[in-house]
C-alpha cells in the first residue's frame, strides 16, 4: 500500500441505464490517511454515487477504488457511512441505533457499551439513549447517526451531505462538533465529506475537491490553509476564507449556470 494513502481512486467511471447517464468518468483521487477531503460540486453531479462506490454499495462501471490497499468489492471493512437522510431505524432506540454497526459485527457486549457510551457522551446524547428517533430533533438524529459510524472505529468515514437536511444553525453546530471530535488525539479519521456547500467544504476539509457537472471529473483540488484544531469563527473571519470561497465559486459557476439552463 502506497505510503499514507487510505483511499486510491483510479480512472473510475460509473454509468447508469446502459450508458445513457454518466455519473462520473475518468475520475482519479488519492485520499491520505487521516486526511479530510471535501468534495463539492453542482448538485446531482454524481458525488453521492462516488461515495456509494467507495462504500461498496454499488459497483464501478470502469476503473478501480482501493480502501486500505484492498480493491473495493462490496462494503469494505473499516469503512463507516453517515447518510444525508440519517438512516436511523425508527424501531430502535438511540442506543440500539448507535450500537447497530457493532452489534451487526458481533462485537463483544463490553466493547459495545464502552464505545457507544463514549461517543454518545461526546456528542451530547447521553441521557437520550432510550428515546426513539421520532422523539429527537434532526440534529440529535444525525448525532446518533454519527455515533453509529464512529463507534465502529472505522479507518475511513464517508459522509454524504450529512448536514444538508438540517437548518442552518444546527448545521453549524454539528460542523463544530465534528471538528472538535476530529481534533481529539486518536479520534481523527480519514474522511470523505460530500457537500454542496462551499463554506462547509472549506471549514471541514484539508483539501477541497471541486468537481464538474455530470459526468463529474475532478476540476481542481484546492488545499485549505488551516491546520488542526480548527476554530470556525476564526476561519470565517480570515480573509483567505473569502478568497478561497470566491475561487471555488468561480470554478463551479459555469457548471451551476449550465445546470440551471438544462434543468
Amino acid at each position: 500500500m502506497p505510503e499514507g494513502a487510505a483511499i486510491v481512486i483510479h480512472d473510475a467511471a460509473k454509468v447508469f441505464l446502459d450508458g445513457a447517464v454518466v455519473a462520473f468518468r475518468e475520475l482519479s483521487l488519492d485520499v491520505r490517511e487521516r486526511e479530510v477531503v471535501s468534495i463539492v460540486g453542482p448538485s446531482g453531479c454524481g458525488k453521492t454515487t462516488l461515495l456509494r462506490c467507495i462504500a461498496g454499495l454499488t459497483r464501478l462501471s470502469d476503473g478501480s477504488i482501493a480502501v486500505g490497499g484492498l480493491t473495493v468489492d462490496g462494503p469494505p471493512d473499516g469503512v463507516s457511512m453517515v447518510f444525508q437522510h440519517f438512516g436511523l431505524l425508527p424501531w430502535k432506540t438511540v442506543w440500539d441505533n448507535a450500537a447497530f454497526g457493532l452489534a451487526m459485527a458481533h462485537a463483544p457486549a463490553q466493547r459495545i457499551r464502552d464505545r457507544v457510551g463514549h461517543y454518545l457522551e461526546l456528542v451530547g446524547l447521553a441521557g437520550s439513549e432510550r428515546r426513539y428517533p421520532y422523539q429527537l430533533s434532526g440534529g440529535m438524529q444525525q448525532r446518533a447517526g454519527l455515533v453509529r459510524a464512529l463507534a465502529m472505529d472505522p479507518q475511513v468515514l464517508l459522509m454524504d451531505e450529512p448536514f444538508a437536511a438540517l437548518d442552518a444553525q444546527t448545521r453549524e453546530t454539528l460542523q463544530e462538533e465534528l471538528l472538535r471530535i476530529m481534533a481529539i488525539e486518536g479520534e481523527r479519521k480519514t474522511v470523505v465529506f460530500v457537500t454542496h456547500s462551499i463554506d462547509e467544504a472549506i471549514i471541514l476539509g484539508d483539501r477541497v475537491v471541486v468537481t464538474t457537472t455530470r459526468p463529474a471529473r475532478v476540476r481542481e483540488i484546492v488545499r485549505v490553509p488551516y491546520g488542526w484544531p480548527r476554530d470556525t469563527t476564526a476561519i470565517r473571519a480570515d480573509p483567505r476564507f473569502a478568497e478561497l470561497r470566491e475561487h471555488i465559486w468561480s470554478q463551479l459557476r459555469p457548471d451551476a449556470a449550465s445546470a440551471m439552463v438544462s434543468a
Partner: protein, 284 residues
C-alpha cells in the same frame, strides 16, 4: 470546566425544559381534542338512538324494535345465559380460524416476498382466490369438510387468509430502500437484514392485514353459521327472526358489532404497543 462547556450545559438544560413544556402543551391539546370528540360522539349517539326510539315505536313491532326493547331483551338473554351459549361456539371458530389464518398468511406473505420463484409461480393464484367472492367456495367446502366446526373454520380461514398474505407481502416489498442500504453499509448478513430491518418495517402492514382479517373473519363467522349447520350466533339470529322477535334478533347483531369494534380496537392497541413509531408519525 471551561466557560464554553458551562454555556453549552445551560443551553442544553433550557432546551430540555422547552421541549418538556412543548410536550406538556401538546398533551393538553390532545386531551382537549379527545374530550371534545367524545362529547360530539355522545351527542350523536343520543340523537340517533333517540330518533330510533321515537320512530321505531311507530313501526309494527313485528318488523322493528326500539332500542329500549332491545336492551331489555339483551339483559334477559344475558341473564338466562342464552346469548353466551350461542356466542361461544362461534367465538371458538373465530379464534381458531383467525389464528391459523394469521400464522399461515404471514408466513406465506413472507415466503412470497422473499423467494422470487414462489412469487412468480403463486401470485396468480393469490390474486385469483382473493378476487373470487369467498362465498362461492362455501358449497365446495361443505362437500369436502362437512357441516360442522371443521367446515366453519375453513370458511373463516379463507375469509381471513388473503388480506394477511397480501399485506405482509406488500409490507416486505415497501421497506424503505434507504434503510436496506444502511443495513448493507453496516455489513448485515441476510438474516440480520430481515430481523433488524425488513420485519420491523413490514410490521405495520402486517397489523393492518390483521385488522382487515378480523373484519372479514367476522363476516366469515356469521356466514359459516348461516350456510353450514345452522348453529352458533347465526342460529340465534335466524331463530329469533323466524319467531318474529325482532327485539331479540337485534341482540346478537349488536353483539357482533360490539365484537368487531372490540377486536379492531385491540389490534390498534397492539399496533401502538409493537410499532409506536407509526402512531407517532400519524399524530404529526
Amino acid at each position: 470546566m471551561s466557560a464554553g462547556t458551562v454555556a453549552r450545559g445551560l443551553a442544553v438544560g433550557s432546551d430540555a425544559e422547552q421541549q418538556e413544556r412543548a410536550r406538556a402543551t401538546a398533551a393538553r391539546r390532545r386531551r382537549t381534542r379527545r374530550l371534545r370528540a367524545a362529547g360530539v360522539r355522545a351527542a350523536s349517539l343520543t340523537i340517533v338512538l333517540g330518533a330510533w326510539q321515537v320512530f321505531g315505536g311507530l313501526v309494527d313491532p313485528i318488523l322493528f324494535a326500539t332500542p329500549s326493547k332491545v336492551i331489555v331483551a339483551g339483559a334477559a338473554m344475558i341473564a338466562s345465559g342464552e346469548l353466551w351459549t350461542y356466542l361461544w361456539p362461534s367465538l371458538v371458530v373465530l379464534a381458531i380460524g383467525l389464528s391459523v389464518a394469521a400464522a399461515a398468511g404471514i408466513t406465506a406473505g413472507l415466503l412470497l416476498a422473499r423467494f422470487w420463484v414462489l412469487d412468480v409461480a403463486l401470485d396468480m393464484y393469490v390474486t385469483f382466490l382473493y378476487s373470487t367472492p369467498t362465498v362461492a367456495l362455501v358449497p365446495l367446502i361443505v362437500l369436502a369438510a362437512g357441516y360442522e366446526t371443521t367446515a366453519k373454520v375453513v370458511i373463516l380461514f379463507l375469509f381471513a387468509f388473503f388480506p394477511l398474505v397480501i399485506n405482509t407481502y406488500q409490507g416486505v416489498k415497501s421497506v424503505d430502500p434507504k434503510l436496506l442500504e444502511v443495513g448493507r453499509a453496516f455489513r448485515c448478513s441476510e438474516r440480520q437484514l430481515w430481523v433488524n430491518i425488513v420485519l420491523p418495517a413490514a410490521l405495520p402492514f402486517i397489523i393492518t392485514g390483521l385488522r382487515l382479517a378480523v373484519g372479514r373473519g367476522l363476516i366469515g363467522m356469521v356466514l359459516a353459521d348461516l350456510y353450514t349447520a345452522i348453529s352458533g350466533i347465526g342460529y340465534l339470529i335466524v331463530r329469533t327472526a323466524s319467531q318474529y322477535r325482532v327485539d331479540r334478533m337485534f341482540v346478537p347483531i349488536v353483539t357482533l358489532g360490539l365484537l368487531g369494534v372490540t377486536l379492531t380496537t385491540l389490534v390498534r392497541l397492539l399496533e401502538r404497543r409493537v410499532a409506536p413509531w407509526v402512531a407517532a408519525q400519524d399524530h404529526d
